[in-house]
Amino acid sequence: MPASSRWEHFPHGADIGVRGFGASPAEAFEQAALAMTAVITDLELVQPQQAVQISRVCPDREILLTEWLNALVYEMATRHMLFGRFRVSIDGPHLAGVAEGERVDAARHHPAVEVKGATLTQLQVARRPDGTWVAQCVVDV
């Protein structure tokens, strides 16, 4: 993992913001996804037992971030899973991702809250002055 890769949360009036940093937009997307899982549970509690493929297309890279996060919200909800490891590649408008995780176990994961969706609020995918990337938005919980 490059030193430039990391994630954080930022506050919002009712909900919570997720923010990923990386050497590329793809890495920043991976980190934003980690930040989103961390809203729900402690990342170290999630075992990478099953991989789910995700593919989205959107010419607007910021909307592509919400598409990626919302695809994960959908997979979490319909598969009753939590994801703790992500790989993303972005080629023009195409995003191909893999999310690895396991079925929710309330006794072990103590999931605090479900994420309803990624919003357009504070949505940003941008290159920083040092050349690294940030990808962020508020998620509704």
Binding site: H12, G13, H80, R127
Partner: protein
């Protein structure tokens, strides 16, 4: 543009509103005169302490909503307003379709038709106390709550369509309720104009096993007792006395509503320019009511309202079963069911002329005053019950729609307390187990699958709902009727 290290702002980091930018009308009304691209004034209803604590984003969002096409009368914010998605949470705005009016997915929210219903139990606190632990456990066992929980009802394709068209009426037909429940539910339990075929397959799939589930976050089921009656006459009409035990359920349209909100927010953001709408911020995403996307959203959103009404109806059925198992003979009857994330077509009189308007209430409760034809006969003389949830340790309020409310903000009132600190900060300050123990010492039993969730929802993480309701009362939005406090809380 590079982001600032803390672009998020928020509590203690963002700035609060500048009162110099308002003209004050009385003690509880703060007016923003139209300027720039605003088509109507902005009005925030609050006392001075509440408005002083509001994030400046609330001001910005009230102003932005006032600039949307077809808005009429004003861009309103309730006393519990806080920074939302495009629209403020606690925002009310009405649009005229014939003036190019718009419908906004962000103006309704992700949890479409999230709301509160309150049931009478016919019991007193003394009936509950001896069986409180057993009741808490039984409710917790029978009400699916928390992340990843599923209901026992699986809907086939045909049943899903019937539910999305029929709402609580559908639930009754399946045996999950009584006829009297419907007249105590907005829209008589069934939102007209729902179009299940405008709901995506993904949204339907997300709902497949979530019928009859509570959800998580600030959603709850509480057994409460009435600790104070403010207005005896209205309380009598509502069937409420001090000491009565009631049950309140707060939840919404679950995964189906969330997915509809997600999809239409994106579609409206991408298409806005095609409709010639210039958005001050992309998150204000909206579509003309008369456009294909606008119509599709309304059809899907109404289906999600039915999903929420059906969901709360099924939860009511499960609650009745739980009570019957612990207290044989207990009769739970519905006081009322309100939704606080909606867009509804309503008739309102402006300048002496009746107009059909699309009224968005995002974190705001409809509050029809006395005499409104939508109200059941038993309530018509006093007005609509307005059910306001607080935090699990403090208490909740029952208010009533007023005659003045129509003149204030299209008969609307507040919806809850709103957070005072972030989830992150709450987690730093509180331990779930300690919160549970402290509340237990005060006679409040918490049952939740997640201690982290309890910590994030700790009473101290919320603003004072009492101040919000008092401001709503003083501003004429709704009249205070009763305060209730929890005895048992099942938290997702």
């Amino acid at each position: 543009m590079s982001p600032s290290p803390l672009a998020g702002g928020g509590w203690g980091k963002g700035t609060t509103v500048d009162l110099n930018r308002f003209s004050r009308v009385g003690d509880y009304q703060w007016r923003i005169e139209p300027h720039g691209s605003m088509r109507v004034p902005g009005v925030i209803y609050a006392d001075q302490a509440l408005i002083e604590a509001m994030d400046d984003k609330v001001y910005e969002q009230v102003v932005n909503v006032a600039s949307l096409p077809g808005i009429v009368a004003g861009s309103f914010a309730m006393p519990d307003a806080h920074w939302g998605y495009g629209f403020p949470i606690g925002g009310v705005a009405a649009f005229d379709p014939d003036l190019g009016g718009v419908v906004s997915a962000g103006g309704v929210g992700f949890d479409i038709s999230c709301g509160v219903r309150t049931l009478h139990t016919g019991l007193a606190r003394s009936d509950i106390e001896p069986v409180k632990m057993e009741l808490a456990e039984t409710l917790f066992q029978r009400i699916p709550a928390g992340v990843g929980s599923t209901g026992t009802i699986r809907l086939s394709g045909e049943e899903m369509e019937a539910m999305l068209s029929g709402g609580a009426q559908w639930a009754l037909e399946r045996g999950w309720g009584r006829g009297a429940d419907l007249e105590r539910t907005e829209e008589h339990g069934r939102m007209a104009g729902a179009e299940p075929d405008k709901v995506s397959e993904r949204a339907k799939k997300r709902q497949r096993d979530e019928m009859g589930t509570l959800g998580s976050g600030n959603h709850y089921l509480e057994v409460q007792h009435v600790v104070k009656v403010f207005d005896e006459r209205i309380a009598r009409a509502f069937g409420i006395r001090a000491g009565d035990v009631v049950v309140s359920i707060h939840c919404g349209s679950r995964g189906l509503g969330h997915q509809i909100g997600t999809e239409f927010l994106r579609d409206m953001a991408v298409e806005a320019a095609q409709h010639g709408i210039t958005l001050p911020d992309r998150e204000l995403a909206c579509a003309p009511i008369h456009s294909a996307t606008g119509r599709a959203y309304l059809g899907a959103m109404r289906a999600a309202i039915n999903c929420a009404l059906a969901n709360r109806q099924i939860l009511t059925h499960l609650t009745r079963e739980a009570f019957a198992a612990v207290i044989p003979g207990a009769e739970l009857t519905l006081l009322y069911d309100v939704s606080h994330n909606t867009c509804k077509v309503e008739t309102h009189t402006l300048d002496g002329k009746a107009r059909r308007l699309h009224v968005h209430r995002k974190g705001a409760t409809r509050a029809f005053g006395p005499g409104h034809p939508e109200l059941p006969e038993a309530l018509r003389g006093v007005g609509q019950p307005v059910l306001i949830g607080g935090s699990m340790g403090t208490g909740s309020y029952i208010l009533c729609g007023t005659e003045e409310s129509e003149q204030r903000a299209f008969s609307s009132a507040c919806h809850g307390a709103g957070r005072s600190i972030s989830r992150h900060e709450a987690l730093r300050r509180y331990k779930g187990r300690s919160v549970v123990d402290e509340l237990a010492a005060r006679g409040i039993i918490i049952r939740s699958p997640s201690m982290r969730g309890v910590a994030e929802e700790a009473p101290g993480a919320y603003k004072d709902v009492g101040a919000v309701c008092e401001a709503a009362d003083k501003a004429g939005l709704a009249r205070l009727v009763a305060r209730v406090e929890p005895l048992v809380c099942v938290k997702g």
